[in-house]
Amino acid sequence: MTGIQYTTLGLLGLGAIIGTVALIRTKFTMEKMVALDVLTTLITGLLLVLSLVFDKSFILDIAIVYAILSFGAVMVVARYREGGI
């Protein structure tokens, strides 16, 4: 049963590496923010799988706080680049 969890962890980690490469290689600011948005959603999913692997439910609280902070960061950068915050 743990093979499924580790397979999902491997897929998500590979996706995180690819997202980091996309974050570095893109040119415009908005493309970088898109890559960062995808990366934060992916890391929130990684935290959910880690809470099952370690069998601790407080990692879900970390996932909630991480989702809130990433949403705030994306909204602030998007509205700032647009001109009015």
């Binding site: 049963m1 499924i4 969890q5 397979t7 999902t8 491997g10 897929l11 998500l12 590979l14 996706g15 995180a16 690819i18 997202g19 490469v21 996309a22 290689r25 415009f28 600011t29 908005m30 493309e31 923010m33 898109v34 890559a35 948005d37 995808v38 990366l39 959603t41 992916l42 929130t44 999913g45 959910l48 799988v49 809470s51 099952l52 439910s57 879900l60 609280d61 996932a63 909630i64 989702a67 809130i68 949403f71 994306v74 909204m75 998007a78 509205r79 680049r81 647009e82 001109g83």
Partner: protein, 105 residues
Amino acid sequence: MTVLQYLGAFLFLVGGFFTFVGSLGVLRMPDVYNKLQAGTKATTLGFISIALGLLCFQPGWTLKILLVALFVLLTNPIGSHALARAAKNTGVPTIRAGKEEVQEQ
């Protein structure tokens, strides 16, 4: 292993696959809008699938898991909409403009 755990394993694999494909789409798509539609939708589907799989594995954590899933399901389209609007208003070029320039030459 019960039926619920088989369902959770299937949902985990589906979620991992769709998040991986979404991340790959962000790397491979040529334009910021294509990157948005490849990244946000597939990643949201994968995240919700992973959350439902975790719900099948641990039924005692239902409230927290549903809170995370509902929050991501609400805020991910809002963030992608704000990013697309900011990209349009700041003048990020689309791939169609580049192709027209190539065809004119």
